[in-house]
């Protein structure tokens, strides 16, 4: 292999490495760090069953379900720690967090663009 092709090869590897770190939903990532990572941990690994992991979601975990948990919180008698509702987020911001969790953290398809539903909040069970 000539020097030129070696350099090219290294450049290729570097660009791959950079490409792999790319975050699609940057605002979602920033909001995740502010509102979620304290309990669910920076990479979504969670702590035991108390603060559930978010980095092992499957495709059947509906977008709306995550969206509504963030908006309304989650509590049930068998849970040790209640998840409080995250207040003060716009619909677009909520979408960006869910898209970040689904797409960037889990490599799943993100389902809605924020613009598509900017008109109204998704219905959540109260």
């Amino acid at each position: 292999m000539g020097l030129k092709s070696k350099v090219l090869f290294i450049l290729f590897l570097l660009s791959m490495a950079i490409a792999c770190q790319h975050v699609t939903f940057k605002e979602g990532e920033i909001l995740y760090e502010t509102h979620c990572s304290h309990c669910h941990m920076p990479k979504g690994e969670g702590v035991g069953d108390i603060y559930p992991a978010l980095n092992n979601l499957t495709e059947d975990y509906a977008f709306e379900e995550i969206y509504c948990i963030i908006r309304n919180g989650k509590n049930s008698p068998d849970r040790v720690v209640e998840m409080v509702a995250i207040n003060g987020l716009s619909d677009v911001q909520l979408h960006n967090i869910v898209n970040y969790i689904k797409s960037d953290m889990n490599g799943l398809q993100h389902e809605f663009s924020a613009n598509a539903s900017r008109e109204h909040l998704l219905p959540c069970p109260e």
Partner: protein
């Protein structure tokens, strides 16, 4: 010529790598009082708390152990989860080392009942012989936090109603504090793990 320099370099590196730096024993931390000829070191005062099974725990129960202590409350939305993650790291490393115990104190005994602590321990899937969760009189808990170098007080403006620091404290068999780490800083806890090994060595356990 270049070869010789390289060879010399390798030799120096090898000598350096082989040298085992003898470590000083961990210091006894905290304020000391001089009483005549005697120096009284800071130590954990007498306590009596209740564990996750409703049993009373006093100092003597920990006399034969080196233990890691932290303060938390289950409703804590800020630093507690990350500190617990680091306590879990310590638990995992010393799960099979009988000399080590972990002791987590709640500072919100009103909410954190015995049942709640039991559930919390189950949620972490830990053996409560090894890692106990204590509750008790609120004032007594907040007071002893200070003896463990942890600032803890009620503050209606703080997230969850309490303000406290996330220190993890290493206590020896004589109730002396020998090392601590900020439980929110994983690198600091990495250093604490080395300190724990050093203290174990003092008690004849080589890791």
């Amino acid at each position: 010529m270049t070869k010789n320099i390289l060879l010399g370099f390798i030799i120096i590196c090898s000598i350096w790598a082989c040298q085992e730096v003898p470590s000083e024993p961990l210091p006894i931390l905290g304020r000391q009082e001089i009483n005549g000829q005697d120096t009284i070191f800071h130590h954990i005062p007498d306590f009596s708390f209740t564990n996750q099974d409703g049993q009373t725990v006093v100092n003597e129960d920990l006399d034969n152990y080196l233990y890691l202590s932290d303060f938390f409350f289950t409703n804590c939305p800020s630093i507690c989860p990350i500190v617990k993650k680091q306590m879990l790291r310590i638990y995992d490393k010393y799960e099979n080392e009988p000399l080590i115990k972990l002791v987590s104190h709640t500072i919100d005994p009103k909410r954190d009942t015995v049942e709640k602590l039991k559930k919390y321990a189950e949620g972490l899937s830990v053996n409560t012989d090894k890692w106990m969760f204590l509750t008790g009189d609120k004032e007594e808990l907040l007071d002893i936090a200070e003896d463990y170098f942890v600032a803890a007080y009620e503050d209606a403006d703080a997230p969850g109603g309490f303000d406290h620091s996330g220190k993890i404290i290493l206590v020896d068999k004589k109730r002396h504090i020998r090392a601590f780490a900020e439980g929110t800083d994983p690198e600091d806890v990495t250093q604490l793990l080395k300190d724990i090994d050093l203290l174990l060595l003092e008690y004849g356990v080589k890791k």
